[in-house]
């Protein structure tokens, strides 16, 4: 493969152009970038392609439903004394562009509303989600990412002057697009094959690629899709969605011969076209780091998948609204305006009669309704398992079993489970906090064991994770599964004495932070050392010489923070 890495800025501009040519088919873009020159330049380019009179509305990520979808305009209704409906921002943006600012902060619910509008009968707006996330898990809602064609990443991209199309050219291209003959089968086949090679399962992605290729062709003034159009489309649509690295051509299994009707040449043609497409996508990925890149992305996908639950937890921290109750407005209470008006409404005719104040609505103190929330306590059980020494494999297997048993409970109790294993000189987070059993099964498939025991490092690691879970509003529970005989200190030096004092120091940190913990002693005979560490941790001590998954899970259940 010799394709040179295309200039990302040129590609990004192409995305803006194609988006404006086929607005209905391509639906939008997610622009991942910090605010800055590159993003501004991209938005300028988009604006330059948009029709002159097209509205461009900016929606903040925390926009409320009334504003987004429209509803009763309360202020105007009260002023006019008759119902005044307001149009939502999405309706106002018909024919134009909705800019969703700080899309990475956009709640899943808002994302779902926008997605519904995009799927619905009157979308007719282009969504540009400005994603300013820094970390992998800070991203625009997946439900939107799925529904827009382009994911443009402008991080580290420098804008430079490039020829652009004016809106006249765009109109011309649109006319041409409308008269384009339907796509031939070989074209669709090569896109499908390329999508399959990169593990892109969604039919939307394939359709977006097809649309983008057609738009690219008309943008270049052609009536048929050529290979470079397809390559551009694949780079823009498929590359950001890639989940797996394609198999090397040599290693590739022969394609299933399930289509005997097709002539060998035609099939071979489609096949080689697909191969070239795969190359094009690969060229859009950083060449040297393809493997790592894809790995990170796969990681990110997994992250994203479990994030759904995380998002729910975020809203849960504020608690689910439990309706409003009558109350006075003290500091910190939130007035539920609509509920207050509802409470006041039936009395209006009566009050109007006895009042001498000219007002549309007479709201009295007893009408005040204050929002209430139910806090949902979520917990994260952090299982820290000793993977060192000879009994490691057995212990690991039982720890894994315990994790899965706990997760099987998790959907009842809304608990998350994480697993840290430690051996030799380090502790490793094998399973980040998750509620998904299928994910746990995947990550815990193979666990290495044996070696020295870095107990202090493991406790530090657990405390750090517990801290970050607490910061997310969850209650952590640390479960140690070890015989407590550390022999590697925090500095990685072997030596029993140093290791034990380090472990005690680490344990004290856990107690000082107030994390609930359980210490399951797996040594065949009780020893004071393990109990000391348990005491310093403030942990419940449970000697369990014959570890088994069920017993571990039981111990955890007993000590788990009370839920709900």
């Amino acid at each position: 493969m010799t394709a040179t890495r295309p200039d990302p800025w040129t590609d990004a501009l192409a995305a803006a152009r194609l988006l404006m040519i086929d607005r209905e088919g391509l639906k939008g873009a997610i622009v991942r970038a910090q605010p800055g020159a590159a993003r501004d330049a991209w938005l300028d380019a988009l604006r330059a392609c948009a029709p002159q009179d097209a509205p461009l509305r900016r929606a903040p990520a925390h926009i409320d439903d009334e504003r987004l979808l429209g509803g009763l305009d309360l202020a105007a209704t009260l002023a006019a004394g008759r119902p005044v409906a307001s149009r939502g921002l999405l309706a106002e943006s018909a024919g134009g562009v909705v800019l969703l600012a700080m899309a990475e902060r956009c709640p899943a619910a808002t994302g779902a509303r926008i997605a519904q509008a995009m799927d619905g009968a009157h979308p007719r707006f282009v969504l540009v989600a400005l994603d300013e996330g820094l970390e992998a898990e800070e991203r625009a809602p997946d439900i939107l990412a799925e529904r827009v064609a382009f994911h443009v990443d402008l991080d580290g991209v420098r804008a430079h002057a490039a020829p652009q199309m004016g809106d006249d050219d765009i109109r011309l291209a649109q006319v041409r697009l409308a008269h384009m003959p339907p796509a031939n089968e070989a074209l669709i086949e090569s896109i499908c094959a390329a999508a399959a090679a990169f593990g892109v399962g969604s039919t939307r992605a394939v359709l977006f690629t097809l649309r983008a290729a057609r738009a690219a062709a008309v943008a270049a003034g052609r009536d048929t899709v050529e290979e470079r159009d397809l390559a551009l489309a694949a780079r823009l649509v498929l590359a950001p969605r890639a989940r797996v690295a394609p198999a090397e051509p040599e290693a590739q299994a022969p394609p299933p011969d399930d289509d005997p009707a097709q002539t060998p040449e035609a099939s071979a043609n489609a096949e080689s076209a697909a191969d070239r497409l795969v190359e094009a996508v690969q060229s859009a990925l950083p060449a040297d780091f393809l493997a790592q890149f894809l790995e990170a992305r796969a990681e990110r996908r997994v992250e994203a998948r479990s994030r759904g639950a995380g998002a729910a937890a975020r809203s849960a921290r504020r608690g689910r609204p439990l309706g409003a109750r009558a109350g006075t407005l003290r500091t910190g209470d939130r007035l539920d305006l609509v509920a207050t008006l509802r409470a006041a409404a039936p009395w209006q005719p009566l009050r109007q009669r006895e009042s001498d104040v000219e007002a549309r609505v007479l709201v009295r103190r007893e009408d005040f309704r204050v929002r209430r929330f139910v806090q949902r306590l979520e917990s994260t059980t952090i299982v820290v398992v000793d993977a060192s020494g000879s009994a490691a494999l057995q212990r690991l297997a039982e720890a894994k079993g315990a994790v899965e048993t706990l997760l099987a409970d998790a959907y009842v109790s809304r608990a998350r489970v994480a697993l840290i294993a430690f051996r030799n000189t380090s502790a490793e987070l094998l399973l980040p906090p998750t509620r998904s059993l299928s994910r746990a099964k995947r990550s815990l498939a193979a666990l290495p064991g044996g070696g020295a025991t870095p107990l202090a490092t493991a406790i530090d690691h657990a405390a750090m994770l517990a801290q970050s879970e607490r910061a997310k509003g969850r209650t952590p529970l640390i479960v140690m599964l070890t015989d407590g005989r550390g022999n590697v200190g925090r500095d990685g030096e072997a030596g029993r004495a140093g290791a034990e004092s380090d472990a005690l120091a680490a344990a004290r940190v856990v107690r000082a932070a107030g994390f609930a913990s359980v210490f399951i002693d797996t040594s065949p005979r009780r020893r004071p050392g393990a109990e000391d560490i348990a005491r310093e941790m403030g942990a419940a001590y449970a000697p369990l010489p014959f570890v088994d998954a069920g017993a571990v899970a039981d111990v955890v259940r007993i000590h788990a923070p009370t839920r709900r």
Partner: protein, 342 residues
């Protein structure tokens, strides 16, 4: 109104299509849960099926588009069927498909005091929610597993009782709300509580088409539809009409379809063999088999019908051993083989 992708043009996904059709024939089965990745055509199938169903006769002027026969007298006091002495006028309306957005509030789902009327006229009126709109149609919830638990409970409760009871803000309203609940979700994004899962009648898995050939076919159909929706719909009209015909006939035939004792025994044996909890599994299995037989034009349920619906009717009701990697479907398949091949 934008054209809807025709049901008959959906490539593959036979399990999902069959489950949806069974639910359309017998809404009492209790909804369908569809598991699968994004972009596999779940919502397309639901919308397509609803668009294909024949229009329903409804009481004219009723906000719940209630059924003049079944709902007579059961609707709210405002309904023309109760206010007028004469037989109410009726009209034909399309089968509704209501989307429940993830962030929907309880207000919007069950209905609330009509603020507009209350503020401007001081009248206490009920503003129907999404449940009212979904009456006699489909309520589609994308990503059910992300929905707040209390809302799911509420939905399942209404779906099971067929009636929405609102007692809030000084309102006291009850109105019929019979709908087919269709949930979709991705199991990797957090699982559904088993007690919720159990309340769905059928459950199916949809997957991305495995072969390139099938994927190409999917894309071709969709592309052709997007390019010229009207022409595409017209081209599929006949095939869609055939499906509609089957459903309409099956609805009428369902009540006459006989379930022989032997089939019932086999169904019970199957449920015992796989250890499904409670009787709901058996009841659903029989009902689904009957609806399926009706769709096939049969007068008597035979073993093949039972087999065809066993996995969707039971796979979500098995008590799972978390350490067992074998999915539920293979376990049922194994039990089926053992029971039927002897």
């Amino acid at each position: 109104m934008r054209a809807v992708f025709p049901f008959s043009a959906i490539v593959g996904q036979d399990d999902m299509k069959r489950a949806l059709m069974i639910a359309a024939v017998d809404p009492g089965i209790g909804g369908v849960m569809v598991f699968g990745d994004r972009g596999t055509g779940k919502s397309t199938a639901v919308r397509a099926l609803a668009a294909l169903l024949p229009p329903m006769r409804a009481v004219k002027g009723c906000i719940f588009h209630c059924d003049p026969d079944a709902d007579a007298g059961a609707c709210t006091p405002d309904c023309p069927s109760r206010t007028s002495r004469a037989a109410p006028k009726t009209e034909l309306v399309a089968t509704p498909v209501v989307d429940l957005p993830l962030g929907a509030t309880e207000d919007r789902v069950i209905g609330a005091l009509d603020l507009e009327q209350a503020l401007t006229r001081g009248e206490k009126r009920f503003e129907p929610g999404l449940l009212a709109r979904a009456h006699r149609g489909f309520l589609y919830i994308d990503e059910v597993n992300l929905l707040e638990d209390h809302l799911v409970d509420l939905l399942l409760d209404v779906a099971a009782s067929g009636e929405n009871v609102v007692e809030r803000e000084g309102l006291s309203v009850r109105h019929p709300a019979r709908f087919v609940l269709i949930g979709s979700g991705n199991p990797e994004e957090g699982e559904l509580r088993p007690q919720l899962l159990d309340r769905f009648g059928l459950s199916v898995d949809v997957k991305t088409p495995a072969t390139i050939v099938e994927r190409v076919a999917v894309v071709k159909q969709r592309d052709a539809f997007d390019r010229d929706p009207e022409a595409f719909v017209a081209a599929c009209a006949q095939a869609d009409a055939a499906v509609r015909d089957r459903i309409v006939k099956a609805r009428a035939r369902r009540h006459r379809v006989d379930v022989p004792e032997a089939v019932m025994e086999r169904a019970a044996a199957l449920c015992i063999a796989i250890g499904s909890d409670g009787l709901r599994g058996e009841l659903t299995l029989i009902r689904a088999a009957r609806a399926h037989a009706a769709l096939e034009g049969a007068d008597v349920v035979d073993m093949a019908h039972l087999r065809a619906v066993a996995v969707p009717a039971l796979q979500h009701r098995l008590r799972r051993n978390p350490l067992d990697d074998v999915g539920s479907a293979p376990r049922i398949a194994r039990a089926l083989d053992e029971l039927f091949d002897t």
